[in-house]
Every structure is written in structure tokens, then in C-alpha cells.
């Protein structure tokens, strides 16, 4: 068996998040693999539908809840279209975990600010649950999450769950024009709302993930709030094939995103050529 051969996983649950995003819950078929499998928040895997190919997503479930892993994907290409067709009980493939991770353990005792947009909540969600499951190890938690429209918000039930908790501040927003008459949350772009929520930067780190334009405009806001570049973490998306630093397509500068990433600090990103 080579490093390119996936493990077989069974789809144990299929959850429609939005009209074009879906979560799958996967269980390793091989018992020993299931027992041995471990990962860190922020790592990714290669999910395969045999006949369509492999696609790269982060693992969206937290390592604190072993047994099954989850992924969340948007319907954009060949593999995600095929993934859309799989049903509970079907077999797909998984390779991973790959890449580096958010240094959650280093953040003990700190405040954590989560900033996410659209499907970018998936990798952040992994960290959120990881930290919520070890709640007393961390300081204040703030989640700022937005999507284009109400319909495009992913993990809606969990957003409600977080909003109901009093040990985490959860602000959900939709872009102007994306609200419905029933919408009770905020209306505004994520960077704007982030500036309004204005979490303290003292002894805090920020985790940010979302569309490039959201990240681009959120960095200055975080900077203004006093977050140092090495306290801001994000996760990069690049086209990948092998996931293990061989196939050569995720190079940015001298970085292999699949090995040195996908998690980078803003400080690291600023040193990279803008080729992502």
C-alpha cells in the first residue's frame, strides 16, 4: 500500500448546510485505522470519490471528538459534484491527515477571536469545538461569522447553539441585501462587523478564514485592533493533488502549502509572494 492509497470510509451522515454546501460524516471501515486515527485542528485530507477523483478539504470536526470525521464542501467542480451524489452507507476514500495545524495548545490562557466567512467556517469550526470542548483552558472567545445571504450560512444549528452559550460571544452577520424579513442578526460585511465588535487584542489570537476579499479587508481591522501579525492565523487554499509535498502544484515562493501549511500566520503570509 502506497502513500497515495486512500483508506476506505463509510458515509454515516449527510447534512445539507446550504443549497450548495453539504457536510459528510465519515467513519473508517478498518477498525485499527479508526482506533489509530488522530489529527490536529487545521489539518486537511484528500477525499476521494472513485471515478471522479480526489478533493482537498480540511477536517471540519474537532480532534476532541474522535470516532468519525466530518468535512464540508461546496458544489464547485467534478469531485464535489460526485461527492454530492453519495448517500449514507456509501463508501468513499480518505487520505490524511496532512499539513500543519493551528497551535491550539500554545493558545492556552489566551482569548481567541474567530473570524469566518461563508464556507470558511468549516476549518474554524474545528478549532471552535476543539476549544469549547476544553473551555476552561482558554480566556474569552469571540466568533464573528458572516455569509452573503442568510441562506448561505453554514452550520446554522451550531451557530444557534453557540449564540445560546454564555461562555462565547457569537456574532452572525449577512452581507447587505442578503437578509430576510425574519433575520434577527446583523447586516454588514464581516470586516465592518468585526470592527464594531472590537474584541480586545490583549493576550489574544485571531483565527480567520473565508473568501480572499474578506481576509484582505479583515487583516487591517485586526491590525487596528492591536493584533500582531504573528497572532493572526489563517488557512490557505491551494489546488492540491498529492497532499504530501510531491506533486508540486501548491508552491508559493519556497513554501509547499500542503506541508508548511495550510495554516499560516499573517506574518508568514506577508513574506510570501502574492501568488495564491
Amino acid at each position: 500500500m502506497t502513500i497515495y492509497q486512500p483508506d476506505l470510509v463509510t458515509v454515516v451522515d449527510v447534512i445539507d448546510e446550504t443549497p450548495d454546501t453539504r457536510s459528510l460524516r465519515l467513519e473508517f471501515q478498518d477498525e485499527a485505522t479508526r482506533e489509530a486515527f488522530g489529527f490536529h485542528s487545521g489539518q486537511f485530507g484528500e477525499y476521494s470519490v472513485f471515478g471522479a477523483g480526489e478533493a482537498t478539504f480540511c477536517i471540519a470536526s474537532p480532534p476532541t471528538r474522535p470516532g468519525a470525521i466530518e468535512c464540508c464542501f461546496k458544489l464547485v467542480g467534478k469531485v464535489t459534484t460526485a461527492l454530492r451524489e453519495v448517500d449514507i452507507g456509501d463508501t468513499i476514500g480518505f487520505r490524511g491527515p496532512y499539513g500543519n495545524w493551528f497551535p491550539v495548545d500554545e493558545w492556552r490562557g489566551k482569548d481567541v477571536v474567530f473570524v469566518a466567512g461563508g464556507i470558511g467556517l468549516a476549518p474554524v469550526r474545528c478549532v471552535i469545538w476543539n476549544i469549547l470542548d476544553r473551555r476552561d483552558e482558554f480566556g474569552d472567545l469571540t466568533i464573528v461569522y458572516g455569509a452573503r445571504t442568510v441562506q448561505d450560512l453554514v452550520y446554522k444549528r451550531e451557530l444557534q447553539e453557540w449564540q445560546a452559550r454564555d461562555d462565547v460571544t457569537t456574532v452572525v452577520t449577512v452581507d447587505p441585501g442578503g437578509e430576510t424579513p425574519e433575520w434577527e442578526g446583523r447586516v454588514g460585511f464581516v470586516p465592518t462587523v468585526l470592527a464594531e465588535v472590537a474584541p480586545s487584542a490583549a493576550n489574544a489570537v485571531a483565527v480567520i478564514c473565508g473568501p480572499p476579499v474578506m481576509i484582505k479587508f479583515s487583516f487591517p481591522v485586526l491590525e487596528k485592533l492591536g493584533f500582531a501579525d504573528d497572532a493572526v492565523y489563517t488557512t490557505l487554499e491551494m489546488r492540491m493533488k498529492c497532499g504530501v509535498g510531491k506533486c508540486g502544484r501548491c508552491n508559493i515562493g519556497s513554501v509547499y502549502v500542503c506541508k508548511d501549511g495550510p495554516v499560516f500566520t499573517a506574518a508568514q503570509l506577508k513574506k510570501l509572494p502574492a501568488e495564491y
Binding site: 486512500p6 472513485f50 452507507g89 508552491n251
Partner: protein, 391 residues
Amino acid sequence: MSDERHADELYLTEESLTRLVDELLTAGTEVIAPAVTGSCASPAAIASAACLRPGAAPELIEYAALHDASQMALGRGLPNLSLKGFFLPQEEALVSWRRRGTGLELRGPRVDAPSRIALGVKPCDAAALEIVDKVMNWDTKDELWNGRREATTVFTLACPVEDESCFCAAVGGTPDGTRGADGLFTPVEGGYMVQATTDKGRAFIDSHLAAHAGEPAQSDSLRRQAAGFRSAARERIAGHLAIDGPAIRDWVAANFDDPLLTSLGIRCNGCGACTSVCPTCHCFDIVDEPDGVSCGTRRRCWDTCQTGRFTSHASGHNPREDQNVRFRQRINHKFAIYPLRFGEILCTGCGRCTRVCHAGQDLVEILSEIDDAARRGRPAVTADSDGGGEG
């Protein structure tokens, strides 16, 4: 550099080499060597009549798994494609699947290749193997590559010919090198002087080659001949191109947006021919190919950074939108990324990319220009340097 290895040298006549190869083939051992393949395997009449263009080279030299010793064409020009296809095939199965109900059965390829011999390999092609070893073995190990590497005993042949596009000496190679190989053949009168440089090479000599070797008494003058041949080859190549690798590495890494680097692709057609023929280009794609409804094969095949498809995201976003930046990536990967990451220039100076490019992209020329800029210590340009022509 190899003169101190004299003591181990053996003399092998052309005839005994032929006998040795035939013996190996008879025993079922795969022998890889440069061979005249024609342009195709069709009956010679068709090939000569229809396939060969008037004026084109009458013979195509390729590394091939030999059927018999007479095919061998040692010491001719550079084979058309490099040796890399024998280690990273143009396409190979990674896993096959078969559906059974809702379940699946997977089958992986064998990773333990049967042992084989590669003879008459160009030193630039052998060196590439050791360079690519690095990326195939950092952290995770590529079993398919490693399996073939371990199974293969490689003997280089000191280069009898070069042309204006060869520049192995500029990137740390030498035309009589054994890097990535287990031993060296040097052409001498009537045959070759053979020496081993690794245990694997010595084992091959002891078990197979020694029995065919000629009289030791002959050897002294032959040794001198061989040493002369090698030093002549080194002298010839030395004048071709001289670059300062580390300076280029640092300059390219620091001057990513310099107009010199952002206008390289203007005449480039964006085909992947240069990467296909390159002995060190190793980027690959992984594709699923159904062979039927319920079964199929996932294959890995060569890919190239020179196409837009290489980096385009499913969303439509493409970090490398035009040929200028794609060509910069090729230079960057070879002369900055790989050296920074693995301590090796990802180029062995074989010159194939230059020869194969009919648009006139010329790596020798490009490297001289970058080397010039690097040596002059040209400062980083930060202003808008969005493409622009040359001149």
C-alpha cells in the same frame, strides 16, 4: 575528479558488453540503455516512408528497455526523453478500485520492482535521480519512486558529445559524473573502462561484469586513455556557461517581481514540452479513469506548471494567470525554491528544454541574464512591474 578510482577500473570490449547484455536479457533481467527506436515500432518500411520527415534526424535515440543487445546505441547524442520515465512513468496506476454493492475493493500497485540495469546513462540524467530523491523522500516516502530506484543499478557513460545547449558544469555536474549512479563507463579504444562507485555497482561488476572483463595487462594505457577522455570532456563543457547558483537562488527569491522575471513568458507558448523532457521536472497529476461502471484506475501522470490548468482552482480563481508568471514559476522552482528547500538546483544542465523549444525559449540565455543581474546585485524592484515586453 574520478582519477583516484583507477584501481577498480575494468576493461570491457564492445563485444563483451554485447555478450553481457544478451546474457542479462536471457536471464530475464531488464536492461535499459539508449537505443535507436526509430520513430515508432511499425514495420520499418512504414516508418521510413511516412513517419520520418525529410530532413529530420533519421534515427530517434531513446532510453528503452532492450529486447536485444543490438539495439544499444551508447555514446550517441542525448536521448530524446530523459531517464526519469523509468522511475516516474508518464503514467502509472496508483490504485485500482472495484465496486461491490455499496462497498469497494482497492488494489495498489507493487512497490518492489524486479531488479534491472541501466547502462550508458548520461551523467546529467543520472544526477537528476539523486536530486529528485530529495522531494520524493522528505517526510513521506514515495514508495513507487523508491522501489524503482532501489531496483535499478545505473551506470553512466562519460559524455563523448555535447552541444551549445549543454551546461552540466554550470549547475554542479560533470560530463563524467556518477552522481545518482553506481558506476561509470568511459569509452576507450575497442570498448569501455568500467568502474563502480557504490556497493550496488560493485556487486553488479562482481556478479555479472567481471566475468566478461578483458586482460588486466592491457589496462595501463587504456586507463590513461580513459582519464584523458574524461578530462577532455570536462574541459569542453567548462566553457559553456558559468553561473553563480547561490547568487541566483537568493536573487530570484528576493526579486520575485523584477521585470526580468515577469517578462520571461512573452514568446513561450505554454506547452509543457520543456517540463516533459526535463530529467528533474517531477510534478504530477492524479486522475481517476473508470474502466467500466464498477471499476477503474487512479493514475498519476506527468503534469506541467506551464499550463493554466495546473493551478486553477475549482472556483475559477487561478493564482498564475498568464504565461509570464508560469514561466517564472519554472525558473523559481528550479533555481530558488528547490535550492532553498532541498539544497539542490533542480536542473542538471542537460539542455533538453532549450533544444525542444521551437519558440526559442533559451534557458542558457535566461540563466546568463539572471546571473548577470544577481552578480551585479541589482536591487529589488518593488514598483509596478506588471509584465511588459522585453528590450
